[in-house]
Amino acid sequence: MNILETHHIVKQYAEHRALDDVSLSVPQGCIFGLLGPNGAGKTSLIRIINQITAPDSGQVLLGGEHLNPSHIKRIGYLPEERGLYKKMKVGEQLLYLAQLKGLTEKQAMEKLKTWFIKFDIKTWWNKQVEDLSKGMQQKVQFVATVMHEPDLIILDEPFSGFDPINANLIKDEILELRDKGKTIIFSTHRMESVEELCDYIALINRSHKVLDGSKRAIKEQFKTHTYHVEYKGEIIDLPPAFDVLNTLTTDDGFLRTNIKIPPDAAANDLIRYLLDRVAVRSFGENIPSMNEIFIQTVGEVPTT
């Protein structure tokens, strides 16, 4: 079941079209990576999902219903440009934000207690936000995003501003939320976290959706049928169907060769062939990284 669907979203600003016919499906209980270069239209899409702005045409469905104000409390949003009221105390501020999301003061208090214990930030309750470090403020902001237990959590560059320890803490929280059945939309251009966390991705470039699907399927789609082999000896008399792309020498004196095989050929044929001729140390398929897919896709799109 899809928790979120957008159908043919168009958003036109005075000078440019921020989103052009963007349709997405976000399955429930996954981490969904919303990727794209700067200015591609990610933030515009997120703002539409958050009902901050409305699309010029197209529809957004949350849990099968047309987007409406009652959905606000089902969504948690951590914007890229984040901030808190500097002159307000942490506890007071979180209570306020929770109440804006529709919690009662009592409910908010209970939820916040658990989070403050979990993050071990009990002493911050009466501190002014401006007295906290940037990383500490980010933590508070993360709590503000998820404290009302939304079904859909939208995180825009969630790891920026975190040191590695806290970034890990947040990562674990994200995974835990997914395991509880929450859906996380994760907007970023840091591909290593996409690689690590995302189950599904969509790539937006120049206002268009250019790619979407499960990470596995996309990687499958971008496979080049190349394999790498590390060995000692010499590869000779390779059948012409097997295309040697390049050969390098590794630090410890092995050779590493990338070989492309025809789509209809089996890797086993290549292995069988190699086993007879060289001493193989390792063999594997070259799976494209998200980074490569991103660069390839974004680079390929013709300029309009």
Binding site: I52, D56, R82, K86, K87, L97
Partner: protein, 440 residues
């Protein structure tokens, strides 16, 4: 509705808890009271009488000098030389010597004093002596004091304003003071609280919290919540000012009142002379300028003025604060506000100028039109109200003011909703106009 209430509560509490709010709330009445105290003190201190010893060789002037608020005369039987030595010690401010032949040679009068004698005292004494000489000469000519007194008719005009409620005596100066004060207070508070709204919006924008907030609430709700929250802060401040001021004045006038009576009783006792009784009764009824204003205030329609003040404060504030809010949303930093502030400040500054004209001519065409037009009406109408304004004009002005702030709020909300999400872009007036017509 619940959401707006939450926003109002936050905006209100954050401001009311600020140190600057508490300081201003206490300082305001202290300043007003200080002002009042200075007037009161000046009134009391001007009653400090000068005591003057008169050595009258002619023997004609004893008891003839009128003791009044400013001067008290005494006529000891002393020689000039003895009096000269002792008058300072005896607590007199000056010694007047009137020679025997003063009627024939008036220029021989001498005034002695330890310090130099003030011009006003000198002229007072000169006037007193010349008046006495005049009286003596008139009497010699057969005209008695009685005839002179009868000949003098004291004209003291009283202005009476004719209104539906019948004739009421009013005091033009007091009315002017009240109306000017109300207009100025509206002007200042619209500026102060309007700027507070602008700063509040800018704070949310620059700290970037606005995006989090408007993912939960509509921009319009946020703007309205802020405007109403700040309005309540303003009303709270006014209320506290009124309570504190009234409290201070009540305490102050009790203290000062006691001092005054003690003062006059003492001088009367010290004089121990026939005129003393007269002095005391005179001083008791002596006009105190503050009491004067207070009495005049009593003749005005205070409930109407207070009600109108609150209405025009709220109306003017809502009209302008929405615009201030829009400016806060349109800019990235304080320095950029200048270009947008100017057109907003223009009408309100003009209103103060119009108000000065309206004070002099409350029913003139300029006063009429500027008290109807919403941008100037809060200030100018407040000037006119104490002088009395026809009901239909008041109603028209109020309706237009309500329409005015609905209009500015609508425009401001449209600028606001686009502006708060617009970063790092220099905005121009053309840009703002475009924002107003953006949809969604």
């Amino acid at each position: 509705m619940h959401i707006i209430f939450l926003i109002i509560k936050r905006e209100y509490l954050v401001r009311v808890r600020k140190k600057s709010f508490i300081i201003m709330t206490i300082l305001g009445p202290v300043l007003i009271f200080g002002f009042y105290a200075i007037i009161g003190w000046a009134a009391v201190s001007s009653m400090n009488q000068k005591k003057i010893e008169v050595v009258d060789e002619s023997g004609r002037f004893a008891g003839k000098f009128k003791n009044d608020d400013e001067t008290v005369y005494s006529f000891p039987k002393k020689s000039l030389a003895a009096a000269k030595k002792s008058f300072v010690k005896d607590g007199y401010n000056a010694l007047v010597f009137i020679p025997k032949d003063v009627i024939e040679r008036p220029k021989t009068v001498q005034i002695f004093a330890e310090k130099s004698v003030s011009l006003s005292l000198q002229s007072n004494i000169e006037r007193a002596i010349s008046k006495e000489i005049e009286n003596i000469k008139l009497e010699q000519a057969g005209i008695t004091q009685k005839i002179i007194q009868d000949a003098k008719v004291n004209v003291d005009a009283q202005t009476i304003s004719l209104s539906d409620a019948g004739e009421k005596s009013s005091n033009g100066i007091a009315t002017t003071i009240i109306s000017g004060f109300c207009a100025l207070l509206i002007y200042i508070s619209v500026l102060i609280y309007g700027t507070q709204v602008m700063r509040g919006v800018m704070e949310e924008k620059t700290s970037r919290i606005v995006e989090v907030i408007i993912s939960s609430v509509k921009p319009f709700q946020l703007m309205l919540g802020k405007i109403i929250g700040v309005a309540l802060v303003g009303l709270t401040q006014f209320l506290l000012w009124i309570v504190l001021t009234v409290g201070l004045i009540t305490v102050g006038s009790t203290v000062m009142g006691q001092k005054e009576t003690a003062n006059s009783a003492m001088t009367a006792r010290m004089n121990g002379m026939p005129g003393g009784q007269d002095v005391q009764s005179k001083m008791a009824t002596a006009k105190n300028p503050v009491a004067d204003v207070m009495a005049a205030i009593g003749t005005l329609n205070i409930p109407l003025i207070v009600a109108c003040f609150l209405f025009y404060f709220l109306g003017g504030y809502l009209l302008y604060s929405a615009l201030f809010g829009a400016v806060g949303a349109a800019v990235d930093s304080e320095t950029e506000t200048q270009q947008f502030m100017f057109p907003i400040m223009m009408p309100i500054i003009a209103a103060i100028a119009f108000a000065q004209i309206a004070v002099r001519d409350p029913d003139g065409p300029l006063a009429f039109w500027t008290s109807i037009i919403p941008f100037t009406s809060p200030v100018v109408m407040m000037v006119r109200i104490p002088f009395g304004v026809p009901g239909w004009q008041l109603a028209l002005s109020m309706v237009l003011l309500v329409l005015g702030f609905v209009g500015t709020t609508w425009i401001a909300a449209r600028i606001y909703r686009v502006g708060i999400l617009m970063y790092g872009k220099k905005t121009s007036f053309r840009e703002l106009a475009k924002w107003v017509f953006y949809k969604g």
